[in-house]
Subunit: 333 residues, 4 copies
Amino acid sequence: MHSMPSVSIVGAAGYTGQETLDRVLAHPQLELVAVGSSSLAGRPATALDPRLNRNGTSQVPVFVANDAALAAGADVTFLCLSHEEAAALEPPAEGVVVDLSGAHRLHDPSQYERWYGFTHPRPGDLAQWVYGLPELVEGTGRLIANPGCYATATLLALAPLKGAIEPGSVVVDAKSGMTGAGRTLKPSTHAGFVLENVSPYKVGEHQHVPEIAQLLGFPVSFTPHLLPVRRGLIATCNVRSTGPDLRALLERAYAASEVVTVLPEGVAPELSRVQHTDTAEIGVFTDRFTDRTIVICAEDNLGKGAAGQAIQNVNRAFGFGDTTGLRLPGVLV
Amino acid sequence: MHSMPSVSIVGAAGYTGQETLDRVLAHPQLELVAVGSSSLAGRPATALDPRLNRNGTSQVPVFVANDAALAAGADVTFLCLSHEEAAALEPPAEGVVVDLSGAHRLHDPSQYERWYGFTHPRPGDLAQWVYGLPELVEGTGRLIANPGCYATATLLALAPLKGAIEPGSVVVDAKSGMTGAGRTLKPSTHAGFVLENVSPYKVGEHQHVPEIAQLLGFPVSFTPHLLPVRRGLIATCNVRSTGPDLRALLERAYAASEVVTVLPEGVAPELSRVQHTDTAEIGVFTDRFTDRTIVICAEDNLGKGAAGQAIQNVNRAFGFGDTTGLRLPGVLV
Amino acid sequence: MHSMPSVSIVGAAGYTGQETLDRVLAHPQLELVAVGSSSLAGRPATALDPRLNRNGTSQVPVFVANDAALAAGADVTFLCLSHEEAAALEPPAEGVVVDLSGAHRLHDPSQYERWYGFTHPRPGDLAQWVYGLPELVEGTGRLIANPGCYATATLLALAPLKGAIEPGSVVVDAKSGMTGAGRTLKPSTHAGFVLENVSPYKVGEHQHVPEIAQLLGFPVSFTPHLLPVRRGLIATCNVRSTGPDLRALLERAYAASEVVTVLPEGVAPELSRVQHTDTAEIGVFTDRFTDRTIVICAEDNLGKGAAGQAIQNVNRAFGFGDTTGLRLPGVLV
Amino acid sequence: MHSMPSVSIVGAAGYTGQETLDRVLAHPQLELVAVGSSSLAGRPATALDPRLNRNGTSQVPVFVANDAALAAGADVTFLCLSHEEAAALEPPAEGVVVDLSGAHRLHDPSQYERWYGFTHPRPGDLAQWVYGLPELVEGTGRLIANPGCYATATLLALAPLKGAIEPGSVVVDAKSGMTGAGRTLKPSTHAGFVLENVSPYKVGEHQHVPEIAQLLGFPVSFTPHLLPVRRGLIATCNVRSTGPDLRALLERAYAASEVVTVLPEGVAPELSRVQHTDTAEIGVFTDRFTDRTIVICAEDNLGKGAAGQAIQNVNRAFGFGDTTGLRLPGVLV
């Protein structure tokens, strides 16, 4: 009998790395062999979380340097690095690689200069990466670019409506929990700024718009806001139909999905039902004053918006069940 | 020498009533003579707030029944009641009356049935009320309908752009602190539901849209959300210009205002700068991906969105300085 | 082969009921047969949570009346009712019954009158109930009184120190997330009151003190506060040792536990490591200014503080593994 | 006629500096002449807050270097620096100096090494500074050490009880809003850590204990926690009386105060009543289970706990009314 695929995580001490680690440890068909971190190399995993020595998980290795994690020869390598670090990496020559950063999501290298603020160091590689949004993109590959959290919610709401909505009508207003801003210390992530606040930022110029446009075929007007919540993301998408019944299109698109649910009429998505899960919820509303439709998608920015989707991509690559190891039932309150 | 105008507050124990009371007590040219409350009638003002006996404010009367407050013969009567209660009232025959509910904001009585859920009991009165949004509506009157919190922020952002934007392009995504939902106990205001959440509600069917449309000349697509913050409101308005420079129009509109500020390019409104004040801030952003403009207005839902504006309306009615007794300097952090 | 024990939940629509339901559905050795609710009787389970129709959980029955759930003849009945409702019930004659309310925790009926505000209607029954705090109470029984959330955290911190601390020195200052206050609508659970606040309540007179005293042998001074967080509870216990090394006593007490962890020196408990789990964490600190020791215990008020412990009690009653179906690994951020 | 005293603020860009600036601008008897900041020197005041150009406050100077602010020859100099920076300064030779840091609060220089982590560079100066807690310390001086936020709340609760409580019985459990942690970026002030959390820190070893002990005559066991709120601080003090009626002692101590209020029996302090004010509230509770008394004091950590008290100290030094320019009425919701 085969052994389980081995897993290495590069950059395991950030939010997405830590959530990926947590899911890998609980996954019945994956075996962790290396966890890398530039800040924690040489220290035990309990330096990240005291719980990691619990319940016989003594097999959890100490942190190694990211280079060593990258060279671990694992069957699956998760890259949980900054955009610029991930873009500069020579990916492992073998095995499945899932990049949770934005470094390999866009086909057009010039977009990196404009929206990410750096010249892509390996522009020729971009064509080899598959955009891994399982519900919307068929097929998979060895090199998987895991979608952005905002892009995931927006595309889950809008991609099934492509061709049925006026491109120029689309306005997306998105709100994310603070873990979506990463663990880096910035004035805008200081709790004294965040509490009792809601912050629009990168208004009309967020770097997730190009990956949305790449899949949708046209750009959207996108305004992100940071919420005073720890996790959870909601994208309120306002569109004008060219005629078709938009709710019907969405219900059809996700009829078979165990991950994405279209809520009954009148029911709005709730962060509480998707937080700490790898699922997403979609609500569809008819505007009573105008000829517009509002499609709202909620997800956990670290679940379906990051680590949960990364696991889902690995499940597909290895032919495991789509939801193996995912957090589905969620927390009820 | 004249004595100061006397003030009565009807429904002083709700959020808007209490904030109005607080401002009246601090106003240098108004004198409180009656505070009414259905729930606190007969009890001392300290039953509402133990601070009301501080600093020699022993002149604060005990709560009376709302009927008695209404009949107090005050020079100014503030109505801080539910929409339906205020609509049913025979307003005092003399003196300035400011209604903080929605009961007298709309000229067309049929709108009440559709959006407020009740048949207006005194439809013939509606024409006598002036919509009191000082920055946008010239003139005043004896009967003043104080605008809604969402309507104020949306209209401050959009009314100066009337004629310069495509009506069908306008999408407003608004987020309010929980005090905007009133003090009534509802499952949706329970803290266990609100914390770590953001709730879209009345999507495409909020009752503030008709008063926005009444002033703007056309309806807008409007999606309100409740935030896990106590106070503060932000309206993110997404529009397409028909040609004019929208920032210039807004800067011109508020150049002389001490209440509304248009922020410099690149600066986004912050709740922290408007909370606990009677001011509003507007940020203007050009979308880099589409031909749209995003105009964001922030205010305190209980300040400029309610009690502060009510005081401003009284100042105008009596010819006081526009900002007398208002909270302008704000809190810096 | 035996079938799995059947489960009925009485009062499944409150916080503790819903969390118990969620855990029963995920438990590999329990089978749900009835869910009762006074407010949702006759409606499908999706009325409580739209996710309950997901993933083939079509076996979830519609809500029945609480009486019917009580009479379902299940092998396990969870009572998730108010204290007074649970006290008045004739418990099922057979099967394991776990009462998550406080109705059967105290042996002395007179305490109910004093601290719970009602005369216990079935005082003679009290002796039959076992206080189910698995780490501290040996043995089990058919009728299990599930401990209070505050009592659990306080007793986990203090019970192993019994005899090693001065009774008169003990001061407990506890802080709970808002779900600890239940789903009932009260002014003190309105989000406008809770946000940007922390509320001491029932100061020196909380009803959990008697069950703490019952196990500990002496009462403690106890001040609870409600926090502006959804879930999680922390009990900061300040004691004076009579000599023994208190950290050593706690480490010994929980050395074998998979549920309770004593953190390394210098590490404080974090809500984020226990939220959404059924675990608890304890930190021990030496006061540098006085001769006191501070023992801090964190748990999820709905996990180890309620539904998680209820499941743990059922596991013990049926001889399942102590942590079967519990949420142990937790969420890392 | 005299001109008003001139004011310089050194370190005006931090939380305490900004709050002090805000109060000075609104103070009817103080005139700002210089604002210093190491990070903003040379930039206009609007770089700190766009509102500072509003309402004819064009007299607000641009930021200067802290050295220049220190040398401005102002009648009042506020030092809003880190402990170590303030300790190293040669204070201005003339004029009133109010140090909002901890650098001059302790008489015994050796305490700085132990609790502040640095050797005091000017130990001989310490005797010249007066501890400025107006309600508790008589007399004033030219050099004023403004008390710490935790120390203020704790001392307001306990100092009037000195001699009436058992020193060894005193346990203080304090909770502060995040602005109390300062504007410096640290992992523990990252919003992803703070939200849905409450963090005990410096347990039994906080640097405010020595200044509490200095005034009280004995140390207390002190456990601070950071709350997920922006501002506001509550100190829950648990004591055993040696006999006297503790409530009576407190009521007598603050009978004449316009700043500190002892609440009626049964009423607990609320952050909402002290936030954004320079006041404090005290609640007194008898423990029903033990022979202890709980005294709870609430204040705004940036108001009475910092900038408000600094202004109060200046008022005393110049013989202005005690509450001139203070924020007393507060916000009602």
